[in-house]
């Protein structure tokens, strides 16, 4: 099997991530699927001044914000759902070091759709009439804000509605359950806005929990909602969303979710977390899994949604074979 677009995580960040970049992560859900490990690597490679576009906050944004790597962020939801407030993001916002532009969850999906379709604006029937329209974190002096969600007149009825600005992030790291080396991807669980993001972003890197043979895609083409034509690179990383969960693959690591968020509440805690969970492991996938702990990995894999993966297991390329493909790639690159 050719490795095609399959490259190591560290290389993906080196190649595609830039300081000051508009960086989007998908699915970007606080508890579920998200390319959290990509954020760890951004910090390992000291990326900074990021403009984060996260449909929702996640532990990734929480971490990036706590570490001071984000100066601007756009979000639909900035908490951690059942795990409470996102302490790292909160601290950055309250201190004024991170300007957060608020929208609703639908607004973020629509703005990505608008970017995907290359529209100049997107009709807005939500967010209008509230402070999501009138207050802008990016333009704090404009109050009421008029440029964030300006008005547009419907030519059929003559009535005014709002207009959202489309999003076209420079880079998106999209977490998927399964990817093939060509860049075709299957997501299990809600897509959230990964479909729209995969078309809106200027560059897409897939971060996949498992690599499958392309025959899997040919058997289930309707599940391949992200086709290779929109993908630059594929990163293999089991437990890429950890400590968040990935339907069919692994459950939320409740203990680490709480510990991580607690750590990010203070500068000291954040420093310790960075030392122990960001800068502590090697560049290899196995080192990352050791960090999580092999017992934890085994335990979280037994979750109630594991059956969702069953139809696809036979096409999953074994861990060692994927690593061999990556080695091959390294040799060619050298």
């Amino acid at each position: 099997m050719p490795h095609e677009k399959l490259i190591p995580l560290a290389e993906a960040v080196r190649r595609y991530a830039r300081d000051g970049q508009q960086y989007a992560s998908g699915a970007a859900l606080p508890v579920g699927s998200d390319a959290v490990v990509f954020g760890r690597e951004l910090l390992r490679q000291k990326r900074r001044d990021l403009h984060a576009i996260f449909h929702c906050n996640t532990q990734q944004l929480n971490l990036l914000a706590a570490a001071g790597a984000v100066t601007r962020a756009e979000c639909g939801f900035s908490g951690l759902e059942g795990f409470g407030f996102a302490n790292g993001l909160r601290r950055a916002v309250e201190s004024g070091t991170l300007a957060l532009e608020d929208y609703s969850n639908l607004a973020m999906a629509l703005r990505l759709l608008g970017g995907a379709l290359n529209w100049p604006f997107v009709p807005a029937t939500v967010n209008v009439g509230s402070d999501l329209e009138y207050r802008s974190g990016f333009a704090p002096d404009a109050s009421p804000a008029t440029a964030k969600i300006p008005r547009v007149t419907d030519p059929f009825s003559g009535r005014e509605i709002g207009a959202f600005s489309p999003l076209r992030p420079e880079l998106a790291a999209i977490h998927v359950t399964l990817a093939d080396p060509l860049g075709n991807a299957i997501m299990l669980g809600t897509e959230w806005s990964r479909f729209e993001l995969s078309r809106a972003a200027q560059k897409v890197v897939l971060v996949a929990d498992a690599i499958v043979d392309t025959d899997c895609m040919r058997q289930y083409p309707n599940l391949v909602r992200i086709p290779d034509v929109v993908v630059e690179a594929v990163v293999y990383c089991p437990f890429a969303a950890w400590p968040q969960g990935s339907p069919g693959m692994y459950d939320v690591d409740e203990e680490h979710m709480k510990a991580m968020n607690k750590a990010l509440a203070t500068e000291e805690g954040t420093a310790a977390y960075l030392r122990d969970y960001v800068h502590s492991y090697g560049d290899d996938v196995d080192g990352y899994l050791d960090l999580i702990g092999r017992d934890t990995v085994a335990r979280l894999t037994q979750g109630p949604s594991a059956f969702l993966l069953d139809p696809f297991r036979k096409w999953i390329v074994p861990h060692d074979e994927v690593l061999a493909l990556l080695d091959e790639h390294e040799k060619e690159a050298a």
């Binding site: 859900l29 407030f85 957060l100 608020d102 999906a109 939500v126 402070d131 704090p140 109050s143």
Partner: protein, 265 residues
Amino acid sequence: MSLDYTRQEMMAIATGREIRDGELAIFGVGLSMLAGYFAQAHHAPKVRAMTEGGIYGASPIGGLPWGIECNRISANATSFTSALDALGCLVASGRCDVGIVGAAQVDRFGNVNTTGIWDEGGEIGPRYRPPKTRLTGAGGANDIACGARRYIVMVTHEPKRFAERVSYVTSPGHLDGGDARARHGFVGGGPSAIVTTLGILRPHPETKEFRLDAWFPFSSVDEIRAHTGWDLAVSPDAHVVPEPSAAELAALRRVDVTGALRKQA
């Protein structure tokens, strides 16, 4: 006072009673989800529940989901789609019958703040300063507030949470009251009830100002007025809310298997 149910359980049950069988309903996490699935387990078996991410046909297993996309709510779904679908095609479109949202702060017209708390006076001012306390933002609540036919606000009944005017309108209630929502063309009808830890407030049919409609058995008109940050009017029909029945409590506790609502007073 010793009760065989907690205040949170009463709140969840009172909220669940607002949900009617067969309705298309959207719930958030936590209390809101428990209230919704309690309704399904008790009196609304055909409620059509969905999440913001487009999870359809599911009910939680193994305890209260940590999020709307947690495996606990993903393990028995019949359909997974997307946020655009659930919040756009089904909620903002006006198709969804009822939503339940939480609030950090709510005002006399049912406007909801989940974005931030500012210091001292609570006013943001002409410049959009960072809040003293940053909250969770809008999530899908703004979309539900704009689009759902009606929605229910769940909030802990404390004076600081019941403000004359919220400092930031995250999710529009009845705005300035009356037909203020019509100015923005919202297809949704706005908040139909605020269910608190002490009782239930409902909007005056004309002015849309929220009035005390009912108090929980362990509360009273006086206690509720004392815990409300504006001069709360009392509906002429105000009454006590019936206690949870044994069947209701049993249904709620089947949903709340880990007892999240029993851990609090």
